[in-house]
């Protein structure tokens, strides 16, 4: 019988699932587009994972991470719900011992994690601006009519990258259009865009951080060879891309689940059959006070299993009481 740990990274753009065996080896890894339906995507992921794993599988622990980690947590009954920064750091420092810098660029988030002696000592995340994340690259690739998978390859053909204003995604786009209308070559524009995004990342997220080798680049955007090249050029350092670069958050969540349940504690995993269960989410605006919080409710087969979004804890707290009481 295969025993192992399940990690789920419910991100804004992709939902990733991995299955680690007891030794911590990655047995299965799934990368799915969230497409605005996190619950359905997690269920699809579980179904696909159950199909690809041998029929008799014991899930010893489940970890959830990503911006949808709480959602993924209540749906699957995760043992650990952890933020993305810690999850990524755990995964990378386990798979690439000695790593000192992690560059992580996902769909809507970009992060920089600084480690020393395998411990996180500093980190930064993009704030209100999503310039330089995967969504923007996606959008530009679509606008230029090139598949996102080809983006990096084309950018690498550039001989003299065009300078593009990368401070803001909206202005970067106008600048790109301007350069394109001036007649610059597509590879030069794409390479220029990669360099602009890297510049923006290093100036915002990377402001004041000490970037030391080994540097690891992960997240969905690490698939883009143009971005890797631009990072190496800007940093003057070699940048490594781990084999499971696009599911590292999920790997970290699974490793954390292993840590949590290693003392023989039983997992609270609800089983792969949650893929068939009917989940619904809905929300309402609480009118109890002038804060008018938007409360979210998650229902499993019509029964409310979780609520959040209330500042005072009136709704989420009431549910927690009922559970324990």
């Amino acid at each position: 019988m295969v025993k192992g740990y399940l990690g789920i990274d419910a991100g804004s753009v992709s939902t990733n699932l991995v299955f680690l065996d007891e030794a911590g080896r990655i047995r299965e890894a799934l990368y799915l587009r969230t497409q605005g339906r996190p619950i359905a995507t997690i269920q699809t992921g579980l179904r696909q994972l159950a199909e690809s794993l041998p029929p008799r599988v014991a899930v010893r622990g489940v970890g959830a991470t990503g911006s949808g980690r709480h959602l993924a947590g209540v749906i699957t009954g995760a043992d650990v719900v952890k933020n993305e920064i810690t999850s990524h750091a755990v995964a990378t420092s386990t798979l690439i011992p000695g790593v000192q810098t992690i560059l992580e660029i996902g769909g809507q988030d970009s992060k920089l994690i600084i480690l020393r002696n395998s411990l996180v000592v500093d980190f930064a995340m993009n704030t209100v601006c999503a310039a330089g994340t995967g969504s923007f690259l996606d959008q530009q690739a679509a606008r230029l009519g090139i598949p996102i998978e080809k983006f990096g390859e084309i950018a690498l053909r550039s001989r003299s990258p065009v300078r593009i204003a990368g401070r803001c995604a909206v202005f970067a786009e106008s600048d790109m259009i301007h350069k394109q209308q001036m007649g610059y070559d597509l590879p030069d524009i794409l390479a220029g865009l990669c360099e602009a995004l890297v510049r923006n990342y290093l100036n915002n997220v990377g402001k004041g951080k000490e970037i030391l080798p080994p540097v690891v680049f992960q997240g969905g955007v690490a698939a883009n060879a143009g971005m890797k090249h631009a990072f190496e050029k800007a940093l003057g350092l070699e940048v490594q891309i781990p084999p499971y670069y696009n599911v590292m958050g999920a790997v970290g969540a699974a490793l954390l689940a292993r840590e949590k349940t290693v003392r023989g504690l039983p997992s609270s995993f609800k089983g792969f059959q949650v893929a068939q269960v009917d989940f619904a989410s809905g929300g309402f605006t609480c009118d109890g006070c002038p804060n008018t919080c938007e409360v979210v409710e998650i229902r499993e087969e019509g029964r409310v299993i979780a609520r959040w979004g209330d500042r005072c804890g009136k709704w989420s707290g009431a549910l927690a009481e009922r559970k324990t009481g």
Partner: protein
Amino acid sequence: MSRKVGIPGALLYYYYFPLWQAFFQALGAEVAVSGPSTKSVLNRGVELAVEDACLPVKLALGHVAELAGKVDYLFLPRLVSVASREYICPKFLGFPDMVRQTVPDLPPIIDVNVNLYRRQNKLYTAFRAAGKIFSAGEARIFLAYRRGLAALGKYWKLMGEGFSPEEAINLLNRSSPRCPQPSNAARTIPEDGPAAASDKAPRPEREKPVVAVIGHPYNIYDPYISMNLLKKLRQAGVRTATAEQLPETVVRREAAYLPKRLFWTLNQRMTGAAFYFLRSGRVQGLLQVTSFGCGPDSMTGELIARRAAGHGDMPFLNLVLDEHSGEAGVLTRLEAFLDMVRQKQEGGRPG
């Protein structure tokens, strides 16, 4: 009928409210404070404020608007300077004028000047001017002023013991002397401080880490603006320490390590406290809260961040608050920061 004086529960309310309250009450006036900050209070403030006002000023305008048709007077002292050769932020100085220009239906504003920049200036001058509105008797005004100062002294003493401003104000306004536990339970007061005795108190079995939370009181103690930061930290099993627990002498001594004296009183307090906590070895992490658009914060925030970086492995996080802040992003950062704090605590402990 007694006249009602409205005091917005924002900005310097957190520093001086007990003084103001006791003063006006002693003169026979009724004191009304605006309610807690909420989304609608902030939205109202954002509507009223000029574009480049900082978040706390926007919020304060919302509080003023809430009081506007409900009180006979608004007390908005113009605090220019509260210490010799130091200033309060210029936005505070201009606040009564900002209010006059933006908030409709205003009652008369009591905007007495507090300017102690020159040593010979006296705080009483401002209170005397305010007191004249309510009483002709010079002696009565002076007594009210003394009563106010006494209340303020008690207030700071309570905060020194670890009570939050809200808890301290509630305690002062309660007649029966009960002794609840302060929420800021971390005792980080220096050597000879009044809390030295607390070491005898039974300690929790597992020592919870202490995180110093550095920021303007009107940011960190406002549950709406800070997104319940202090409560979240306590729920996460962390004790908190803030600048308000430290005596003035300590804060000033520590801030004096800077090559040039800071002339912003409020930021001097934050900076001095941060330096003290970093140096003391009594905290396991430093969490800095700055507000978007705050001029002094942008300067001292960087000074503190650099000092923290000099302390090598001290976990440090800078949270910037603005009216667009998503709670999700703040939570993610906070969780990762606390992971860092715990990791360090466990890693640093032998065995």
